[in-house]
């Protein structure tokens, strides 16, 4: 485990964002004894999902089936799937661990994660639904030059997917050592092969239903755990908090804000990356095309917000209950971590703070429930990587191949074949990188994925929807400026420049050349500025036509008229 300093805490904060790579999952973990019941239950989950994939494969014929499950997902189902994308191993294990270690700060963190959703809903969800077909690049390139904009959108999508995937694969490897007691490489290969099978054979239908299955299992498991834990306190939150305070070394200070918002600039920057990155993540945006119309798209955001919010309340209860209940098992703590029944050092929990929810499962439900929760925690990674890979494959087949290389003259069968090949290649690359990065510090990667999504995808998307004067040139330069500034600032930040590249300051500690942990506060404005500058300077004939085309786009955006033609059965 890492030492907690302000930087360590910030890295910790980035993790749930990461949806998979909590610090313990990125640092060294201790391999646990083989957990047979967890492995058995995970195999049951795999068998079930392979059944789903077989069923889905028989319904996956057209490109629309492959990319969007034929548009046949209901708002409720899609809400569960979107929530599933959020309820990752890291938000489950990471946030409950954060609550266990520092109490109220865990709640502050999860709130920051949730409030992006309503904004997405109010401002862009239905516009995206009305303008797009399969990928977010459909929306971004709606009235612009297809080749440059789709190339740019596909590039930034692939950058987002690549960094996200590496973090997930490394997280999977670390998690399997912790939860199942199996070797790192087994996890990476198993996750890679299974996600290839889901996506290649079942497309979006299988990907969505695997995500829904996992979301239901995780919500059910977390509900049971929180309920069983609260029962120990006579269902009185006051009693739970009282005992938590009595058993925590920091005492009453865990009941209020701690060190989370120490540095407002970094906090705001992270908040921006979270909020707008969510609105630019290709695998999340794709989910808006799996529902039949804007009405269902809106419902899916409503249900997703509800499920995610409920889930965060559960993790909060789990973290607090764990403080009091885990201290009844001194054997779960390392020497010195537990003093007279009080948690002196939360990181002294065997396996690290990421094990809080897992240990609580054992405390309230015995070894069978422990196996169930471990299996579900691992299944979450599988479901998330399947969605990521599908988004990456779609960027290659639908944006790069069909629109840029074949220039719309390719046929659908070839396009689907290419997305399957792309899935296969992405799977192999993910396995290779997962193994290559085993002992690397990948904590920065998820922050980078969110920053790129917020700085390249989101500004182009927002400007194409709301600003009629944007031109191809503006979108192209703005998108690349956001992408490059986000990557460059991340490389110069402490997480990469100091921790990964090993540059040390005068005091011998890793340093960065820029003081920002997340570049969003700079790179988002850079992107919008370049969009504006290169659009107003663009006096070409094409730019004139593109500005004129905005009216038609806006009408379709507002009414959805013309959009149903593209999606009707």
């Amino acid at each position: 485990m890492r030492r907690i300093g302000p930087w360590g805490l910030l890295a910790l904060l980035l993790i749930p964002v990461a949806l998979a790579a909590a610090p313990a999952l990125t640092g060294a973990v201790e391999k646990q004894p083989v957990n047979t019941s967890a492995v058995a239950m995970f195999l049951v989950f795999v068998a079930g999902t392979l059944g789903i994939t077989y069923w889905a494969s028989r319904r996956t014929r057209t490109a629309r089936d492959f990319y969007t499950a034929g548009g046949g997902i209901t708002g409720f189902q899609n809400g569960l799937a979107i929530a599933g994308d959020y309820m990752s191993a890291a938000s489950f294990l990471g946030i409950s661990g954060l609550v266990f270690a520092s109490g109220y700060d865990g709640l502050i963190y999860s709130i920051g994660f949730l409030v992006g959703w309503p904004i997405i809903m109010f401002l862009i969800a239905e516009q995206i639904r009305n303008l797009g077909k399969f990928t977010f690049a459909d929306v971004a390139s709606y009235r612009f030059g297809q080749t440059p904009i789709r190339t740019m959108a596909a590039t930034s999508s692939l950058v987002v997917v690549a960094f996200y995937l590496i973090a997930q694969m490394v997280g999977a490897g670390k998690l399997i050592e912790l939860l199942f007691g199996l070797d790192y490489w087994i996890a990476v290969v198993a996750v890679g092969v299974l996600m290839m099978v889901y996506v290649i054979f079942g497309g979006m239908t299988a990907t969505t239903w695997v995500q829904i299955t996992k979301a239901v299992l995780l919500l059910a498991g977390a509900t049971f755990m929180a309920g069983a834990a609260l029962m120990h306190f006579g269902f009185s939150p006051e009693e739970m908090f009282k005992q938590a305070v009595a058993h925590h070394g920091s005492g009453e200070s865990i009941m209020g804000p701690g060190t989370l918002v120490k540095d407002p600039i970094n906090a705001i920057s992270l908040g921006l990356a979270l909020m707008f990155g969510t609105a630019g993540l290709p695998h999340i945006l794709m989910r808006f095309f799996t529902v039949p119309n804007a009405k269902e798209a809106r419902k899916s955001v409503f249900y997703a917000t509800g499920f995610i919010g409920y889930f965060y309340v559960l993790t909060f209860i789990i973290g607090f209950a764990a403080i009091a209940l885990l201290t009844q098992h001194p054997e779960w703590f390392k020497g010195g971590a537990l003093v007279d029944g009080v948690v002196a050092d939360p990181k002294g929990l065997v396996g690290g703070t990421n094990m809080v929810a897992i240990k609580l499962a054992e405390a309230v439900g015995g070894s069978i429930f422990l196996g169930f929760i471990s299996a579900v925690a691992f299944a979450t990674i599988l479901a998330v990587v399947a969605g990521l890979t599908l988004a990456g494959a779609s960027a290659i087949s639908h944006d790069l191949y069909a629109s840029v290389i074949a220039r719309g003259r390719g046929n659908e069968a070839t396009e689907i074949r290419i997305s399957r090949i792309a899935t296969f290649v992405l799977g192999l690359v993910a396995i290779a990188l997962g193994i290559a990065f085993e002992s690397q510090n990948v904590a920065f990667m998820v922050g980078l994925a969110f920053a790129v999504a917020a700085s390249a995808n989101f500004p182009v998307l927002a400007a194409s929807i709301f600003w009629g004067k944007m031109t191809t040139r503006g979108a192209l330069f703005g998108g690349f400026a956001g992408l490059l500034s986000a990557v460059a600032l991340t490389v110069l930040s402490k997480a990469v420049w100091g921790d990964v590249l090993g540059n040390l300051g005068a005091d011998g500690k890793p340093v960065g050349l820029v003081p920002l942990d997340n570049p969003a506060i700079v790179s988002i404005p850079v992107a919008f500025f370049c969009i504006w500058l290169f659009s107003v300077l663009d006096r070409s004939e094409r730019a004139k036509n593109e500005r004129a085309a905005y009216e038609a786009q806006k009408v379709r955006c507002e009414t959805g008229i013309g959009a149903d033609g593209a999606v009707a059965h």
Binding site: V115, E252, M255, P257, T305, T559
Partner: protein, 102 residues
């Protein structure tokens, strides 16, 4: 979409009303959500001890707990309010425009 149908939709009296109403509504809700969230963050940054005070004399639970949960619930309620009006009133207006023109 054909240019004449774009012009026809734009010329429909309900279209301008729909666009203006939805824009206003979406921005009001957005500002409300941002105000709630950043208000919370500002309290944490400048008056953290305010959130750490007990909910009642002698209680361990602090007022920060119900406030935090209330923010989560408010996000859900605000999206619910939007969906209710958009799937009702706004969709009815859209349908009328569509039926008048097709």
């Amino acid at each position: 979409m054909q240019e004449d149908s774009v012009a026809a939709i734009k010329g429909h009296p309900l279209y301008a009303e729909l666009v203006a109403k939805r824009k206003r509504f979406a921005w009001i809700l957005t500002i409300l959500m941002l105000a709630i969230y950043y208000g919370f963050i500002l309290v944490i940054a400048f008056e953290p001890q305010w959130l750490a005070q007990p909910i009642a004399e002698g209680a361990v639970t602090t007022i920060g707990i119900p406030i935090g949960v209330a923010i989560i619930v408010s996000a859900f309620i605000l999206t619910g309010i939007y969906v209710y009006r958009a799937n009702g009133e706004f969709d009815r207006m859209t349908r009328t425009i569509r039926e008048d023109l097709l």
